[in-house]
C-alpha cells in the first residue's frame, strides 16, 4: 500500500562516495535547494513516508511543534531545536515499522501493545515522538506520558488519596501532566462528553454530559484533586474509545518500566511506597491492560531514569521485571538499533549543514572516521561528541 503513496517529488540520489563532496559545496552555495540535499526530505507527513525516505530528515512545522510536543522530547533534543531554529526528525526503520503496523491494525479488537527497546541512546524516545506526530496528523487523541519515572521519584508532596484510603496522590505531577494534555488535545476536549457523575467535594461535582475540557480545567485549577481527575479522564477515554464519532484513542507511554519495580518515595514512617499505592501509577496500569479497544499502546523502556537497574540492562525482561513483563505480555517488540552507515552519513551531513560541526578537522575524512570510532554510531553519544567539536 505504500507504493501508492510514493513522494511525487523525485529525489536526486547520487552515490555516497562522489556525491558527498559535491553536496557539501552545493548546500553551501545555494540557500535551500531541497531536491539536492541527500539528507532532507520534503515529505513532512509521517503517514506518507516509506522506505524510500529512510535515513532522511523531515521538518516538523514550527506552528505544530508546541502543540504536538509540549513535553516528551529528550532535553538535549529540545536544546538542539532551539539552537538550530527548526525541529528535524530522522525517518528510521523502527518508527516506520511501528507506523505500518498501526495503519494495518484492526481497531475493533482489544488494543495491541508495542514495546520499543534498545541500547541506551539508540533513539527510542525519538521514534516514539515520530509516532506521536503521526497520530496527531491523523487526528487521534494522544495520551503522551513522557516518563513514568518522574512519577515514582523525587516527589516533594505526597498526599493521602481522598478516593481510596491506602493510596497516595501526587498533585504537582498530575496537574503538570493535565496541562500538557490540554495543550495537545484542544479540539477533543469539547467533543467528548462524560458518562458518569463525579463528586469531588461536598460542594463540587461534575455532572454527566459535561465536556471533558471542563474536567481537565478543574483538575488544573484544583491541584489537590488532580490525581483523581487524571484517573477519571483515563477511565472516560477507555470507555468511549470505540465507536463514538470515529474518535480513536491511543495511549503512549515512555519509561514504562517505572510502573513496576520499586520507588524511591517514602511514607512518613520511612517505610517505602510500592508503585501500586500511587494513584497515577494505578490508573496508568489499568490503561495499559488490553481490556479496551479502539486504540494502541506504544511503550518504551528507558534505562536512564530507571531505579535500581544496572546501566547495561536494556532488554525488556531485565528492565520490566517479572511483574511488568507478565502484565505487558503479549506485546509486539520493536527493536531500535544504532545508526546504520547511511543514517550516520545523513546525521553527519545534517550537522554540517546546520553549521554545528565547527572544528576544521571534523569536516575531513579522518575526523569522520574518528567520530565513527569514538561514538560507535550511537546517536546520543555522537550528538554529545559533535556538541563540543
Amino acid at each position: 500500500a505504500f507504493e501508492n503513496r510514493l513522494a511525487f517529488r523525485a529525489q536526486v540520489r547520487p552515490l555516497h562516495g562522489s556525491g558527498c563532496g559535491q553536496q557539501q559545496e552545493a548546500v553551501g552555495m545555494e540557500t535551500r535547494p531541497e531536491t539536492f540535499s541527500i539528507f532532507r526530505t520534503q515529505e513532512n507527513n509521517p503517514a506518507c513516508q516509506s522506505e524510500q525516505h529512510l535515513g532522511q530528515y523531515y521538518t516538523v512545522p514550527p506552528s505544530h511543534f508546541h502543540t504536538v510536543f509540549p513535553h516528551g522530547l529528550p532535553p538535549r533534543y529540545q536544546q538542539q531545536v532551539k539552537t538550530f531554529n527548526e525541529g528535524c526528525v530522522m525517518v528510521r526503520q523502527p518508527a516506520l515499522e511501528l507506523i505500518s503496523h498501526l495503519k494495518r491494525a484492526d481497531y475493533s479488537k482489544p488494543t495491541l501493545r508495542y514495546l520499543l527497546y534498545g541500547v541506551k541512546g539508540s533513539g527510542k524516545t525519538m521514534s516514539l515522538c515520530h509516532a506521536v506526530h503521526y497520530f496527531s496528523k491523523q487526528g487521534w487523541l494522544v495520551l503522551h506520558i513522557p516518563d513514568a519515572h518522574l512519577w515514582v521519584k523525587n516527589c516533594k508532596e505526597l498526599l493521602p488519596s481522598s478516593y481510596h484510603a491506602s493510596r497516595f496522590d501526587q498533585p504537582i505531577q498530575a496537574s503538570n501532566w493535565l496541562r500538557n494534555f490540554r495543550t495537545t488535545n484542544e479540539h477533543f476536549l469539547s467533543k467528548i462528553k462524560l458518562r458518569q457523575r463525579y463528586v469531588w467535594t461536598k460542594r463540587e461535582s461534575t455532572e454527566e454530559g459535561r465536556p471533558l475540557g471542563e474536567l481537565v480545567d478543574m483538575g488544573v485549577s484544583h491541584v489537590k484533586s488532580s490525581s483523581d481527575v487524571v484517573g477519571a479522564v483515563l477511565k472516560e477515554l477507555r470507555l468511549q474509545a470505540w465507536g463514538t464519532e470515529g474518535g480513536f484513542r491511543m495511549a503512549v507511554a515512555v519509561g514504562v518500566n517505572g510502573l513496576w519495580g520499586r520507588t524511591t518515595l517514602k511514607k512518613e514512617e520511612k517505610s517505602p511506597v510500592a508503585p501500586e499505592e500511587l494513584t497515577l501509577v494505578h490508573n496508568l496500569r489499568k490503561m495499559i491492560n488490553n481490556d479496551w479497544c479502539g486504540g494502541a499502546v506504544i511503550a518504551t523502556l528507558s534505562q536512564t531514569g530507571s531505579l535500581y537497574a544496572p546501566s547495561s540492562a536494556y532488554l525488556p525482561q531485565e528492565l520490566l521485571g517479572e511483574e511488568g513483563f507478565d502484565s505487558m505480555d503479549p506485546f509486539v517488540p520493536v527493536p531500535v538499533s544504532l545508526y546504520s552507515e547511511k543514517e550516520f552519513e545523513s546525521c553527519y551531513l545534517y550537522y554540517l549543514d546546520r553549521h554545528w560541526l565547527q572544528h576544521p578537522h571534523s569536516q575531513t575524512e579522518e575526523g569522520k572516521k574518528e567520530l565513527i570510532f569514538l561514538s560507535n554510531r550511537n546517536p546520543s553519544v555522537l550528538e554529545r561528541l559533535c556538541a563540543f567539536l
Binding site: 536544546q79 532551539k82 539552537t83 538550530f84 531554529n85 546546520r354 553549521h355 554545528w356 565547527q358 572544528h359 576544521p360 578537522h361 571534523s362 575531513t364 579522518e366 575526523g367 574518528e370 556538541a387 563540543f388 567539536l389
Partner: protein
Amino acid sequence: MIRVLLVRWSRYNPYYLEPEPRKEVYHIPETELTPEQKEERELKSVRPIKAATNSVTSSVFNDPVLSKFVNMMMKDGDKIIAKGIITQTLENMKRKQVEKYHKAPEVKKAEIECNPYVIFHQALENCKPVIGLASIQKGGKFYQVPIPLTDNRRRFLAMKWMITECRDNKHRRTLMYEKLSQELLAAFSKEGNVVKRKHELHKMAESNRAYAHYRWW
C-alpha cells in the same frame, strides 16, 4: 581492579627516547624521508622509548593549548571534571553563536564566528599582555620595573587571569562553564574584565617607564 604502575613520572634513563604521537609522521613513505629522518627512524628501532602520558593523543582533535588550559583549571588531579567543564564551555559558546547565526539576516551571517576553538584562541590572544612588571631591589627599595615576557609566560598569565576571574567574580548560582563562556565571548570582542586587567598592567608599565634601565638583562 587492574592496578596501573605509573611509569611516566619516574626518572627515566637518558638513554630512553621520547614517543611520537602524531600519525602523519608514520604515513610518510620510505622514499620521501630526508637523511636526518632516516637516521632518526633507525635510532628509534634500536633504542627503548618512554611511555606516553595520558594527556597526549594521536587524535586529530588534540589541541596542546586547550590541554594546558584544562591542566590549569584542574583541582586535586581531577582531570575528568576539568575536561567536562571545558567541553561544556565550548558547547555553550557554539550554541550561543549558532543560534545568533541562524537568526541573523543574510548580510550579518559572514561576520558571526561560530567555531568555539577559534573564539577560544582569539580570546586568549586578546588577553595576553605584551609587557610585564618585575619587582627589582635597588638601594634598599623595591621598584616595579617593566620587563619583556616570554611567550610561555604570556600564555600562562592570560590563562591564569581568565580562570581566577571566572572563579572569583561570579554569582553564587552561575555555573563555571556559563561564566567562562561569557568571559571568552567578551574577550573575543575585546571587552570584559580580563582584557581590562591586561590594559591596567600595560598602563602600570607605561607609568613606570623611568625605571626601565634598572633591568640588567
